[in-house]
């Protein structure tokens, strides 16, 4: 009997209910771990669990096979409860080779389930992973786990036998075997994956069949093997009623831009240059032309930024996206956008730095770059989304502020929320506020046009190049207020610098007040921003459940700060600022409010674990 055939009976299996489970698939970069993880996420989301994911892959597309450097992982937390993070510790680890085991086993919790592809634990792979013996053979180190040695390579080959595939083709299905086994273990419905495979490989029916057989083979193996005495169910989460889909941060940004383009009276022109982890925004947007989105893959980052300035002058909602190294290159042209006072959005999907740094890992170390990374006095509004789904709303808000205040706006996403996924409540189109662009069409001073004549909020008008009677010149030189003519006088430069700064400060009156989660005064305020929302919120809630006097304020607006932030900060005895950098928000908060804020920093290319933040909260409260 092939393992792909359905076993005869189902007696003797116990099913246990759990509320939250963390699984990690890890293997070689070519083992299809991202695919397995994404599929598990999809079926869990469709089933109704809350999900949160953490893809973790190497910067090299194909690092040397079998080495620790080439290990790719995908972690999913799925739950019957409302969750904010992909989880601290792993309950079930699937390791496809020795290198994956070596680099991931430390995250598996004691007593956790370890499923390994036993076939991959042969001499050369062990050597490449740096093992001097086979850890599966009586290794003390693995004694703390429930180890399942599964000959996945062989069983996958058995499953697909008769399809006429070469051995290497057959072996490519082993991620589906692993996935099937884990589906059985957690009582998942494999139908969404089967449907996906049939669509994806519609033109290669034998590959589709192989993957489906491998999936079934894995599932049947779990079902029929005595080794797995128990399997689990994680009931659906009680999310707010509504329709949901899964979304990543980069997808959400692209959808938000398509929405802005479709609902507003101006088209979107997006200019970008490929860079990890921002490229997916360009990929997604390039499919959205019929929403009124034009995409331009520029020759370099500088060109993408310069074209963004040009597109804004031409009357489009102009956007560019990059990551830290690209943002550095864009600096001069961002200053041009700033001094010409044209509306545009610059998206920085932050990654580990400096220089090329850790291209595929997350970090929050571009905050100071976003705030100050231009020559001269050039403040810009800075907004940071907090979850993947929030990127949809944050990008539209950034664009709205840009248009309302005639200024470039920075959106600080990060690799964690850009690639991470979560369930996202599908919004009603009618509930989305369109961005209304108020293009000037008539002269504003008798029969003349003064491009830098300001309204009460100090905002200048936007005249689309091509509008009759409003011909005017803008540029990077200092200009006279009102007419915009080049003007170098000392008084004027002071005046213009002050005006431009005050205009950005005025954004504080446009954005909502800061909200807090917890009592409005007390012992400790945890102040965080951007992608660390989930870990910080979970940690603070746990501390609150433990009876601690802790409140969480998560900043979305980094410049200007919400107008009530100072009074919030002064309502707590201590302020703790956890960040994935060496203390950048902390520096700003300390200097802005003269408060002795405590920094909590991590800079390992990884998000905070809840327990790390919780321990720090307790340390601070106890000190």
């Amino acid at each position: 009997m092939s393992v792909a055939d359905t076993p005869a009976s189902s007696e003797g299996r116990r099913k246990e209910a759990l509320d939250t489970v963390v699984i990690r698939f890890c293997g070689d970069s070519g083992d299809g771990m991202q695919l397995a993880g994404t599929q598990f996420t999809n079926v869990s989301a469709v089933f109704g669990n809350d999900v949160s994911t953490l893809p973790d892959f190497p910067a090299e597309i194909r690092a040397p096979i079998g080495t620790v450097a080439g290990v790719s992982g995908f972690q999913i937390c799925f739950s019957s409860k409302d969750i904010f993070t992909p989880g601290d510790e792993v309950d079930t680890l699937v390791a496809m080779n020795p290198a994956a085991l070596k680099s991931n086993v430390a995250d598996l919790k004691r007593g956790g389930t370890l499923i390994v592809n036993e076939d991959a634990f042969e001499a050369s792979n062990l050597k490449k992973a740096g093992y001097d013996h086979n850890p599966l053979e009586g290794d003390e180190a693995l004694a703390a786990y429930r180890v399942h040695k599964v000959p996945m390579t062989r069983l996958t080959r058995d499953s697909v036998e008769g399809l006429g595939l070469s051995q290497s083709e057959a072996d490519r299905s082993k991620n589906f075997f692993a996935l099937g086994l884990v589906y059985w273990l957690y009582d998942r419905d494999s139908k969404p994956t089967v449907d996906w495979v049939q669509t994806k490989f519609a033109k290669k029916p034998e590959i589709a069949e192989a993957n489906i057989r491998a999936l079934k083979g894995g599932s049947n193996f779990g079902f029929s093997t005595e080794a797995f005495t128990v399997h689990y169910e994680v009931p659906p989460a009680k999310l707010a009623p509504g329709k949901y889909r899964k979304i990543t941060g980069n997808e959400a940004v692209a959808m938000g831009l398509a929405t802005a383009a479709r609902l507003s009276n101006a088209d979107v022109v997006f200019s970008g240059y490929p860079i990890t982890p921002a490229s997916d925004i360009l990929h997604e947007l390039s499919k959205f032309k019929h929403f009124g989105v034009t995409t331009f893959q520029a020759e370099d980052e500088i060109a993408a930024m310069a074209a963004t300035c040009g597109a804004a002058f031409g009357g489009a909602m102009a956007v560019t996206a990059s990551s830290g190294p690209g943002i550095c290159l864009k600096g001069e042209a961002m200053g041009l956008g700033m001094i010409t006072e044209l509306p545009m959005v610059i998206i920085d999907v932050q990654r580990g730095g400096p220089s090329t740094g850790l291209p595929t890992k997350t970090e929050q170390s571009d905050l100071l770059l976003a705030l100050f990374g231009r020559n001269g006095e050039s403040p810009l509004p800075v907004i940071a989304p907090q979850t993947p789904g929030d990127c949809f709303w944050a990008i539209q808000e950034a664009m709205r502020i840009a248009v309302e205040f005639m200024t470039p706006v920075l959106l600080l996403s990060d690799g964690y929320i850009a690639n991470g996924a979560e369930p996202w409540m599908v919004p009603n189109v009618s509930d989305i506020e369109p961005i209304t662009v108020d293009f000037l069409t008539e002269p504003n001073v008798d029969d003349e046009f003064h491009p830098y004549l300001r309204d009460e909020r100090l905002v200048r008008p936007w005249a689309r190049a091509g509008t009759p009677g409003l011909e005017h010149r803008v540029g990077g030189l200092e200009k006279k207020d009102g007419t915009g003519n080049v003007e170098y006088s000392p008084e004027n430069h002071q005046h213009m610098s002050d005006i431009r700064a005050r205009k950005i400060a005025n954004v504080a009156d446009f954005i909502p007040e800061q909200e807090v989660d917890g009592p409005v005064s007390g012992d400790l305020l945890v102040l965080s921003w951007g992608g660390t929302f989930g870990s910080c919120r979970t940690a603070v809630r746990q501390a609150q459940e433990d009876g601690k006097s802790v409140t969480h304020a998560h900043l979305r607006y980094l410049n200007p700060f919400p107008r009530n932030l100072e009074s919030i900060i002064r309502s707590y005895k201590k302020v703790l600022i956890p960040e994935l950098n060496l203390g950048q928000l902390s520096l700003i908060i300390r200097s802005t409010y003269l408060v002795d804020a405590i920094s909590f920093n991590k800079i390992q290319g990884k998000p905070f674990k809840v327990v790390e933040v919780l321990n720090k909260i307790n340390d601070v409260l106890n000190s």
Partner: protein
């Protein structure tokens, strides 16, 4: 009944800004010819947009009463790309210099040209950095003694026309600042060309590099040093039009006396040749070995970038319909959480 556009004049294109180039700068002449040519094009004033980078020439947009963007050093072609993507109806002119376009902005120049964006690039070549007061530029001849090269420059200059042809520009021309009639005609032809028009203008910086192009501009001298190119005509030059250029047995150009030679044996100019070899050969003819060609070296037709971009958007709208947000949000797997 059609509405006639009001007849514009050069004056209509003059802004109210005081022009701050040095006295007798070659830029004045180029500005004057531009203001003369634009009214002839039958395009409303608001449809013109001048984009520049940094340098003396890049002040140009401030002096034109059209839309204008004085951007940052070297990036004018990229800014112009954004302008055209947002508003393809505009006639966009990029005004640049030898340092702006060939040194700091070399990359953008190359890519604008190879995309065949519908813009007109006018490169004011004075072979010197003027605004920073006299350093050698990427077009300064080898051995140029300047503020930054007191012992003479040791790096080989770029030939702007060779660069443009190397990037397979669809329109490549050269003129001279004080050769007003020829300059106006060249600008006119550049304006009419669909796609990137690249025009090099020999421009005299009378403060830091005076006389660099006298050989091509001074009456009584230039006739022996330049050839006015005409499509379909043989290459003839000289004060008495007694000299010509023909290809020798190795396919290389050589200057010949016309006496005793049939005109049919001369090199005939074909600006529409798809193969850029002839245009490149002409670009390589440099003073003093050869007379330098003025006029249109190359004028061919190819897909225009901004049109192709617009066509894709139109095609997407046609085949997929106006974007349906409801459908987009609900794409992929969805599930419902019941109350």
């Amino acid at each position: 009944m059609s509405t006639l556009l009001p007849q514009l004049t050069a004056k209509d294109f003059a802004s109210d800004q005081e022009i701050r180039w040095c006295p007798r700068c070659g830029d004045y002449s180029i500005l004057a010819q531009m203001k003369k040519v634009l009214p002839e094009l039958g395009i409303p004033r608001e449809q013109f947009c001048f984009v520049s980078g940094i340098g003396c020439s890049s002040r140009f947009p401030y002096y034109m009463d059209t839309y204008g963007f004085h951007s940052i050093h070297g990036r004018a072609p990229a800014v112009a790309t954004g302008v055209k993507l947002a508003n393809p109806e505009l006639q966009v002119w990029v005004i640049t210099g030898d340092g702006d376009s060939l040194s700091i902005g070399g990359n953008h120049l190359m890519h604008a040209i190879r995309r065949n964006l519908d813009i007109n690039i006018i490169l004011f070549n004075n072979q010197i950095y003027g605004l920073t007061k006299g350093q050698y530029s990427p077009t300064s001849p080898l051995g140029s003694k300047t503020k930054s090269t007191p012992y003479g420059s040791v790096d080989n200059p770029l030939n702007p026309l060779s660069v443009a042809i190397g990037c397979e520009a669809t329109f490549v021309a050269r003129s001279v600042d004080v050769d007003t009639r020829h300059l106006a005609a060249t600008l006119r032809r550049a304006a009419h060309h669909k796609g990137t028009s690249f025009v090099e203008v020999y421009q005299d910086c009378n403060v830091f590099n005076s006389g660099a192009f006298y050989y091509a501009s001074k009456k009584g001298e230039k006739e022996d040093n330049i050839i006015y190119l005409e499509h379909g005509k043989p290459l003839i030059f000289g004060k008495k039009r007694d000299k010509g250029v023909r290809l020798n047995a190795h396919g290389r150009p050589e200057v010949v006396e016309l006496s005793g030679i049939s005109e049919d044996d001369l090199l005939f100019h074909d600006e529409e040749a798809e193969d850029p070899s002839l245009a490149f050969l002409l670009a390589q003819m440099r003073h003093p070995e050869f007379p330098e060609p003025l006029g249109v070296l190359r004028n061919v037709s190819r897909t225009v970038y901004d049109e192709a971009v617009r066509d894709q958007v139109a095609h997407a709208r046609e085949t997929l319909g106006e974007g349906d947000l409801e459908k987009l949000f609900n794409s992929g797997d969805t599930w419902v959480v019941e109350p």
